[in-house]
Symmetry: C2
Subunit: 375 residues, 2 copies
């Protein structure tokens, strides 16, 4: 291997692939980054057992040139620290001796012991040809993942609930996540439909990393679904995630079809009020009291104090209501609402409260199961 | 108590005093902030057993008005979170019921249970009248603390070494710290001299907090030395620190009075080279090799790799030399050098290397004891 590449390109590539490095991997080679220099460019791959990230620096005449092809796996932590500390400008990678990468930049020369690339797990699908492919705008996918993945469970008690359900259905993609107390769902309309309808469960944590990497919002991501893998491809970045085996619970009967009252409030005012009330919310429980013109928010922590806050209502349909719910869950939802106004639908004291963007064209829907209180 | 005060003033005051809050204080009242509203203003005080910080918001007609005096100690963590989450603008503090502070801002009302101010430790000196006072420019004090405090020990084996020695001597103030391997010292010339010469040892950690709080560099800090306390006063801020009992070791015989070689190099080039070399420095040991025109830097970590770097010399006096030392300690020193060029004085293979700013008018001096190596 003999490659010239700018420090900036390297830093950018590393930022992406490092997300897949786990510090305590059972396989030593997975603490490394696989570097391949070939006709396609300079390709960096990192993987934990659940997610593989690949980033390619294409060959051009200024920021990267491959003079001699080759490959090596280098320890991610040391490699990253070294690249970051180099002076700006051109860096040379050379592999002459067996499995030693020599990194040269100005007066600095680093020799890093590596491992054989052949031992690094491959990112490729085994069932590449039979897979479904759809294309989706990055901004849309990013926003949908951000909204839905927050409701995925962090407890391993029911593994399917740690995932986000992706249901490809003709020209639409439905995303759903729930941890049993809260639920988030969103439907995206996709231009070109997948051939068959498919339902897969993607680990919420991996999806959250994908959402952070979708930097260019005007771009397109191609999603490719295999039997036990899903792949996201945008520009020079590819992220492959394992799928969670199992059947995702049906949410048809969980979402209330009617409601007793609906209030509309400004999202940011409500968010700030909930954030204040949550500070003194014992066991995270806050109480909402909706009357004709205002929504009162209340909390207390024994021996510390209490908070009262109020938000004016833009609109109210139906009767006054009182409901207690988890304030942290409510904050998570309001923070990713992406709409200036929000609607709260009261469906009964023991049924979930439905939280929606006020703009009826948006398909986002959140539920929180209320907390039963004694007063 | 009845006070009107802007959120911004409160956030600023809290930023300062929170540094003295320790999460696991043995005295519950020290998890609180003492708030006093009186003719002097609105005064916030926080303390751990070693350091007390007081910040005063003076009374004016816009950002703060005391309508009724009073005092209360409120839980720091909750109080801080609440103030930060309030909307911008005027906040009202009212204490009607016994030991409950009512905080009102727009539609938000928070009632916070407090403790009796009378139980809060006082910041005042017992020996106020007999204390020595000196005045010093903030930028100068900030830079001196930053340079010297890095060399204080973090191990409690010899408590005096966890402190920084402040020696007031006529018109000068000498700061010294050492952990046995490295040493930092600086002499500041102060306009008005203290009446008597005094030598005190201030906990390095407290001094480091003081340095971070000296924000306005054109301002003056008054330092007041008591029998077992020292106080730093600048504008509306007062920081009082306990002194460490004991006698600071004499450094007269530690600082080499002559040298065999001296090299001058650009500080930032050397810093960046040492940062790169330190990445692969096993047990943090890096090797310096000075020859006529360049300083070579070398390190290796078994089974990982090695680094070679070089920095051109601006000047060299004396013979070539080779020395091994702790790269982390060297980085700490170079980062706070505050001079474009740095001089390294080689005083022998087993004697400390002396590191100085190239500008001979600066009184800063660092030492690092070399590491003995077998090759």
């Amino acid at each position: 291997m003999l490659v010239n590449v700018t420090k900036d390109s390297l830093v950018n590539a590393l930022q992406h692939v490092l997300k897949a490095i786990s510090v305590n991997s059972p396989m030593p080679i997975l603490a490394g980054i696989n570097i391949q220099a070939n006709a396609n460019g300079l390709i960096f791959t990192a993987s934990n057992t659940s997610m593989t990230i690949q980033y390619r620096i294409p060959q051009d005449n200024s920021s990267m040139t491959v003079q001699r092809t080759g490959g090596i796996v280098v320890p991610a932590r040391y490699f990253n620290e070294i690249i970051r500390k180099l002076n700006a400008g051109l860096v040379t990678f050379e592999m002459n001796e067996n499995l030693i990468l020599t990194i040269t930049s100005e007066n600095s020369q680093i020799r890093l012991c590596g491992m054989d690339s052949a031992d690094f797990p491959s990112i490729h699908f085994s069932d590449h040809h039979s897979s479904n492919k759809i294309q989706i705008n990055n901004a849309l996918l990013k926003s949908a993942i951000k909204q839905v993945a927050i409701a995925a469970s962090t407890s391993e008690t029911r593994p399917v609930l740690t995932g986000v359900s992706f249901e490809f259905n003709g020209a639409s993609l439905n995303l759903v996540a729930t941890d049993g107390i809260r639920l988030a769902s969103r439907t995206l309309h996709i231009g070109k439909s997948a051939n068959t309808s498919t339902n897969v469960i993607i680990p919420g944590r991996n999806l959250f990393e994908v959402h952070k990497m979708l930097s260019d919002e005007d771009d397109i991501t191609e999603i490719e679904v295999g039997t036990n893998q899903i792949r996201f491809i945008t520009n020079e970045l590819q992220v492959q995630s394992a799928l969670i085996e199992g059947v995702y619970p049906s949410i048809q009967n969980v979402i209330p079809q009617s409601y007793l009252s609906e209030v509309t409030v400004e999202t940011s005012s409500l968010l700030h009020a909930v954030e204040r009330v949550a500070i003194l919310a014992g066991e995270s429980i806050i109480r909402l009291v909706a009357t004709t013109h205002k929504l009162d928010l209340l909390s207390r922590t024994a021996e510390i104090g209490d908070v009262q806050d109020e938000v004016p209502l833009t609109e109210m349909i139906g009767e006054d209501f009182i409901i207690s719910l988890n304030g942290k869950f409510f904050i998570d939802i309001l923070r990713c609402m992406d709409n200036e106004y929000v609607r709260l639908r009261f469906t009964g004291k023991a049924s979930p409260i439905v939280i929606l963007p006020a703009d009826a064209r948006l398909s986002t829907l959140f539920l929180i199961t209320p907390v039963r209180t004694h007063n």
